[in-house]
């Protein structure tokens, strides 16, 4: 997935689009990640200043949510559902195999709502049902 390189100017331009929003901190962080692929540590102060919050407020939100990351992602992202419905069809074992092969790209997730066709995996934003290592490899290319 392609992201823009982080810059303060670009970040401030994006934050300006949220001026009218109520409770903007989380959506501001999500917008940073959508644009740059991650939340640069400079964003904490930018967002705090822009919306008149404390840096602690912004840091608190940034560290609460599993989705938000503070380091740039790799070229591919593989999320494997390891919740109960997918566990029932071998997701734990699949997660181990995929992690061994794609260590830096793989993370566990809890439920993509595809619980009748598990194991479910999201590869670069595309959902894969009845997932196998082979299917994941195909989707990754």
């Amino acid at each position: 997935m392609k992201y823009s390189p982080f810059s303060q100017e670009a970040a401030l331009g994006l934050l300006a689009t949220l001026r009218e929003e109520k409770g903007p901190v989380l959506i501001a962080l999500q917008l940073m990640q959508k644009e740059f692929g991650y939340v640069d540590k400079a964003c904490v102060e930018l967002i705090a200043n822009f919306f008149n919050k404390s840096r602690a407020d912004v840091h608190g939100v940034l560290t609460f949510y599993h989705d938000l990351r503070t380091t740039p992602p790799g070229d591919h992202q593989i999320s494997i559902c390891v919740a109960e419905a997918c566990q029932a069809v071998g997701a734990r074992e699949l997660s181990k195999v995929v992690r061994t092969k794609f260590t830096d790209e793989t993370s566990d997730a809890y439920c993509f709502g595809n619980c009748a066709l598990g194991p479910s995996v999201m590869v670069d934003g595309k959902i894969i049902g009845r997932a196998t290592l082979a299917k994941i490899e195909r989707a990754r290319t």
Binding site: G23, V25, Y65, A109, A116, L117, I127, R130
Partner: protein, 507 residues
């Protein structure tokens, strides 16, 4: 000539886009309608052809099957090994009672024309003729209870918010469907999003709210895209906005996307998250209906609750409450998941037995091994054994049986499951997802996982089982919300219903 190929993400997960592309490649003159899914997910990709006598189904279709479908003249219902005959006559579907899901899988989710042709907006038009009080009476009278899991009567919640005086009120739709084994909210939003918009608009009119917010989880990117398009269409059509269908009512809807937190499905944590804060649970009271989002009166309802309201108004409360049993009235959208042969959506009146759902509809396990356990109602729901399969599926019967219906998801496991491992996972999940505000949940979950680990290893098993039950009691009674309060349910039910997994002996 119209061919239907679902755009539901379950269908996409097994290649529906590729099937649609393969059909278009062979004959580009065919109109391919991307409908929602019929809910028979094991049959995806389920392709339908419109014929003068009705829609004919072919399933499960892979891109490799497409050429042979053309060879068999499937466009005119030709014979083919994948032909299932008329879709309306497939017993798995025809035996259901689709109310909330009446249009899902039938229509193009983003065609307002198809929506109205299939009974859409009838409920809203009726609502606009009623007084706020008359409208809330109708919802109350229908017996509709909150489908998110708490089963609180919708009409009573609405009345509380209607009676509150405020310059601003909100309708919040909880679409943070985080329970494993549940996907009805997602399918409704992807398959018939206008129904949800209509239900939210009706709720707004009933209580005098002008702003709706859908809190939709980030794990559902396809649902987010579909709902956003539907909202834009409803705005362009003067349904949402300053003047709802030409009346003096004003109502608009905004989507707020979640950020991967399970506890944000708890209603007060959800409010915090929409306010842009950490998803920390609030103490109740005050009830959100009195003091909710940004301190204003707020109705929080699940997707299915809101999406059922248009049908209730269109067909009348009496027709809805004629279905179901006891105090569980109407229909429930059950979701069959996990290790199951025929998984998907079964909407039917409350009172059907677990056995009918899991075996008659579900066809037992996918692996063909003996079925050993089912978990009902998500990660906080109880594990049941096959000895309890005659339990009627309604709110009260499940509580009596030591469980809960939750959001109606049923996850099936075969005989390879180890319930001690599942119990440990319940505690681990709570430790990962706890918001951290109250001690029993934050600390108890970690201690619980450690204690179950000792039991699995065979360390002082009886002593640790006693300790675990004591911990469960503290979590149940001392937690602020259902996250810590209900995590003991899967743990205790596993211990009670599957004692042989908690002996410390290796399975």
């Amino acid at each position: 000539m119209r061919v239907f190929v679902p755009c539901d993400s379950a269908a996409l997960s097994v290649g529906a886009d590729e099937v649609a592309a393969a059909i278009a490649r062979i004959d580009s003159t065919i109109e391919i309608v991307r409908n929602g899914s019929r809910g028979a997910l094991w049959l995806e990709t389920l392709v339908e052809v419109e014929t003068p006598t009705g829609r004919i189904a072919f399933a499960p279709v892979t891109p490799q099957d497409v050429q042979s479908l053309f060879d068999a003249d499937f466009l005119h219902g030709g014979a083919h090994p994948l032909s299932l005959g008329k879709t309306d006559e497939i017993e798995w579907l025809s035996s259901q009672d689709r109310v909330t899901f009446a249009r899902v899988g039938i229509i193009d989710p983003l065609s307002l024309y198809a929506y109205c042709a299939h009974g859409g907006l009838v409920g809203l038009r009726k609502a606009l003729e009623l007084t706020s009080e008359g409208l809330i009476d109708e919802v109350t009278d229908s017996g509709l209870r909150g489908r998110g899991g708490a089963a609180f009567p919708a009409g009573i919640k609405w009345r509380t918010a209607a009676q509150a005086t405020s310059d601003q009120k909100y309708i919040c739709c909880n679409a943070d469907e985080g329970d494993s084994g549940t996907f009805a909210d997602r399918m409704l939003i992807e398959g018939d999003p206008f129904t949800l918009i209509e239900g939210m608009t009706i709720a707004g009119i009933a209580v005098g709210a002008t702003q709706g917010i859908v809190y939709l989880r980030s794990e559902y990117p396809y649902a987010i895209a579909t709902l956003q398009k539907a909202i834009d269409i409803a705005r362009a059509d003067s349904w949402l906005g300053k003047s709802v269908l030409g009346t003096t009512h004003s109502f608009d809807i905004q989507i707020r996307v979640g950020a991967g937190s399970y506890v944000c499905g708890e209603e007060t944590a959800m409010l915090e998250s929409i306010e842009g804060k950490r998803g920390i649970v609030r103490a109740k009271p005050p009830l959100p209906a009195v003091e909710g989002l940004f301190g204003k009166p707020t109705i929080i309802n699940n997707v299915l609750t809101l999406a059922t309201v248009p049908m209730i108004l269109a067909q009348g409360a009496a027709a809805y409450k004629a279905r179901g049993v006891g105090r569980s009235l109407g229909t429930q959208v059950f979701q069959l998941a996990g290790n199951i042969a025929r998984g998907g959506i079964v909407e039917t009146a409350f009172g059907i037995t677990l056995n009918e759902l899991v075996n008659t509809y579900g066809g037992g396990t996918l692996t063909k091994r003996p079925l050993r356990a089912v978990q009902i109602g998500g990660p906080l729901g109880a594990y049941f054994s096959t000895a309890q399969f005659e339990t009627p599926m309604d709110y009260e019967s499940l509580i009596s049986a030591g469980g809960m219906l939750g959001h109606g998801g049923i996850v099936v496991f075969d005989d390879t499951v180890d319930l001690a491992v599942q119990a440990k996972f319940a505690m681990e999940f709570c430790a990962i997802e706890s918001c951290g505000k109250c001690t029993p949940c934050r600390i108890g979950s970690t201690r619980g996982a450690e204690t179950i680990d000792l039991i699995i290893q065979g360390v002082r098993v009886d002593e640790n089982k006693k300790l675990l039950l004591d911990l469960c009691e503290v979590m149940t009674d001392g937690s602020l919300c259902a996250m810590g309060g209900l995590t003991p349910m899967p743990v205790k039910s596993a211990m009670i219903n599957f004692p042989s997994d908690f002996t410390g002996a290796a399975r």
